[in-house]
């Protein structure tokens, strides 16, 4: 009898301690809060287009205008070649892929600062916030992707020499990699911004600069040999290249460099989650 009572006394459902060990990450808890994540996704979606005239059309307008701009500036004024692919398709493929990455990174990098007021009042796994951002951006990516497919079909019917290859099967995997990279960088930056705000300013233009280091507006084949190693060190390069190969059927997939991107993403995510996890416990004291 007495042992039973002791047992009951010891069966705490939660013990709050000062400092969690660095590797004590509770991803199960995140799963328990999956309803919350889906509510956040829904909220983002609804709130974004309330009181806008065009609503979800904005998803399409943005890549469309960017593509037009790129065609004019890089294609016609600067005259950068596009590997024989229609400029519209070439740029739009790159932009749609890159957009997903940059929105994930930009939005998640402000997790702590933007949500300080919620985080200051209730507890839920903080990771739910960036994860929900990545998912709601995925929704807009899918809409843009379908739009892109429409263009692709149009060009194929017109008899242009582009043909999606068997590599399209890789696309879900590529999307996961993009999401992982965006999330990984985003949560690392958001963790650091709780202490050093300067990073906020760095991120917005840093991402823009990063795009020029990725083969979005130029094909890999145009890069001078001496820069190639640097461009390939960019984990986004193999992903974007494979994305283009899969949809437009140019070049071949370099599985080694894709593997590099995978390794990079996994390592980044692991580091990101560890740092995020450490910061989330006490960030309210420093923000």
């Amino acid at each position: 009898m007495s042992t039973k009572k002791t047992d009951r006394f010891e069966s705490w459902s939660m013990v709050l301690r000062p400092k969690k060990s660095l590797f004590e990450v509770n991803l199960m808890e995140l799963w328990q809060y999956r309803d919350l994540i889906s509510m956040f996704v829904k909220r983002d979606f609804v709130a974004k287009f309330k009181q806008t005239i065009l609503g979800p059309l904005w998803f399409i307008i943005q890549p469309l205008l960017t593509t037009l701009m790129f065609v004019v500036v890089f294609g016609n004024i600067a005259g950068i070649p596009t590997d024989g692919i229609p400029q519209v398709l070439f740029y739009m493929t790159g932009i749609v892929g890159w957009n997903y990455f940059s929105t994930c990174l930009n939005d998640t990098s402000q997790t702590f600062i933007k949500n300080a007021s919620i985080f200051g009042k209730v507890y839920f796994p903080r990771l739910a916030m960036p994860v929900s951002i990545v998912i709601s951006n995925l929704v807009s990516f899918i809409i843009q992707f379908i739009f892109l497919l429409g263009f692709l079909v149009y060009f194929i019917l017109k008899g242009t020499d582009v043909m999606p290859g068997i590599e399209v099967l890789l696309i879900p995997f590529l999307v996961l990699l993009i999401a992982g990279l965006g999330l990984g960088f985003g949560i690392i930056i958001s963790s650091l911004t709780t202490k050093y705000r300067d990073l906020v300013h760095l991120v917005t233009f840093g991402v823009t600069l990063w795009m020029y280091a990725t083969p979005i507006i130029y094909p890999m084949s145009e890069i001078p040999e001496k820069y190639k190693a640097y461009v390939m060190a960019n984990p986004m390069t193999p992903i974007v290249e494979t994305f283009k190969t899969a949809l437009l059927g140019v070049g071949t997939v370099n599985y080694m460099s894709l593997l590099y991107s995978l390794g990079f993403t996994l390592a980044l995510l692991a580091i990101g989650i560890l740092i995020f996890n450490k910061v989330e416990r006490t960030f309210m004291d420093t923000v």
């Binding site: 939660m14 013990v15 919350l36 202490k195 006490t282």
Partner: protein
């Protein structure tokens, strides 16, 4: 059969004050090197006083060595002045931030009403916000669905459930938010000052909900400055002072200790030029005895003496009476009785006695502030320096049941059949 559901063991919380900027990196390095060298953290001094206004370098202890435990079904009132550590304690418990040292052990789900309406999005409808807010507070979609009708009914906004909450009045907003939180069915409920919002009818609902939560064997932590509400709702209390646990026990012991502390132990807030200075003051009954208690309908006296440190043409003398929620309830001044205090010579001592008639404030605790001054300014103003309680008695109120505590004054009435 009661079971310990919350246990604080040597819990402390340290905050760093000031701007987190240039100093931070060097502090971080400082700490880091000390750690490597195996020395004690230089930024963390142990065993010194933790008054909030005594800065320990740039660090401050918001809580020091808190130990207490709470059984299921108990309603704990957390009492203390601003800055005593009440909110920090609740923040630790609701996992918003982690303790610096010590452990908090918890059994069961905690829901906090630290501030209701957390995560409400103005563009979403009432219905969407119920789901969102419920999920933030830890409910699953199915749980919310099963309680949805109940929540809407409790909030009383059923007509507007498909309207974006940005079109709600602030009262509706708060009611809806509270309704969601109230239907969480947690084992432990944390409530912080929420009852200050919403109208009287809603407050009654909210209090009823809290009571039913505690009756069903669950535990409630309640923080409020409204001592009447605390006394009504809580069974047990803790008194926090400057981050330490001053006292733990039955709620009435705690609140009376707190009231006493707020008059005696703290310095009275005093201001003015002191050209004329209040020396002594005392509250008396009609027999001339010093009292701290008045029955409804009684007259009482306040004797005061004041000294003119400089000559003054005239001065007025007023009594401000506030209740324990710091609401200004009554005002008495010599001018109303056409009584004048004139031609004070330097170093002259004057004494006055004021009779206050037919006390008709609701039973409760009250504080009198004394003011001495004239139209040119304040000579001397001592805030809340006399504390007294008003008891129901049987002169004004003859009903056999207690006076409704929400009313602030008592009106006398005569009744006859016509």
């Amino acid at each position: 059969m009661s079971d310990v559901v919350i246990k604080f063991e040597d819990v402390s919380k340290q905050y760093r004050l000031g701007v987190v900027g240039t100093g931070t990196l060097s502090h971080d390095l400082n700490r880091f090197f000390a750690k490597i060298a195996g020395k004690e953290d230089p930024t963390k001094k142990v065993g010194v006083s933790n008054k909030l206004n005594v800065r320990d370098g740039d660090y401050v202890w918001a809580l020091r060595d808190i130990n207490f435990s709470l059984n299921d079904g108990e309603v704990l009132g957390v009492v203390g002045k601003n800055g005593a550590g009440k909110s920090t304690l609740l923040k630790l418990l609701s996992r918003v931030t982690a303790p610096t040292t010590g452990e908090i052990k918890v059994k069961g789900r905690i829901a906090s009403l630290l501030e209701v309406g957390t995560g409400f999005h103005p563009e979403l409808t009432g219905k969407e916000n119920i789901y969102l807010n419920g999920a933030i507070l830890g409910m699953t979609k199915r749980e919310i669905k099963s309680k949805f009708d109940e929540i809407v009914e409790f909030s009383g906004v059923s007509k507007y459930v498909d309207t974006p909450v940005k079109r709600y009045s602030s009262g509706m907003y708060v009611r809806l938010a509270f309704a969601v939180a109230a239907h969480l069915e947690p084992e432990i409920l944390i409530v912080d000052e929420v009852l200050a919002v919403g109208d009287a009818e809603f407050q009654k609902k909210a209090i009823g909900k809290m009571q039913s939560v505690s009756k069903s064997g669950r535990t409630v932590l309640f923080v409020s400055h409204n001592l009447t509400a605390v006394e009504q709702l809580c069974t047990k209390g803790i008194l926090l002072q400057n981050g330490t646990l001053k006292m733990e026990g039955p709620i009435h012991d705690i609140t009376s200790a707190y009231k006493k502390a707020s008059v005696n132990e703290n310095e009275l807030k005093r201001s003015g030029t002191r050209h004329v200075e209040i020396r002594n003051y005392q509250m008396l009954n009609s027999l001339g005895q010093a009292i701290e208690e008045v029955f409804l309908g009684d007259n009482f006296y306040v004797d005061a003496s004041f000294a003119a440190r400089e000559a003054a043409d005239y001065t007025d003398f007023t009594l401000d009476i506030r209740n324990d929620a710091n609401e200004f309830i009554g005002h008495v001044t010599n001018a109303d009785d056409l009584f004048e205090i004139k031609n004070l010579a330097k170093d002259e001592l004057r004494r006055v006695r004021v009779e206050v008639k037919d006390m008709s404030f609701a039973p409760g605790t009250y504080y009198i502030s004394l003011w001495l001054g004239n139209k040119y300014g304040t000579f001397d103003y001592i805030e809340n320096c006399i504390r007294f309680t008003i008891k129901q008695g049987d002169q004004f109120i003859r009903r056999p049941f207690p006076f409704d505590k929400r009313a602030k004054t008592v009106l006398r009435s005569n009744w006859k059949e016509i």
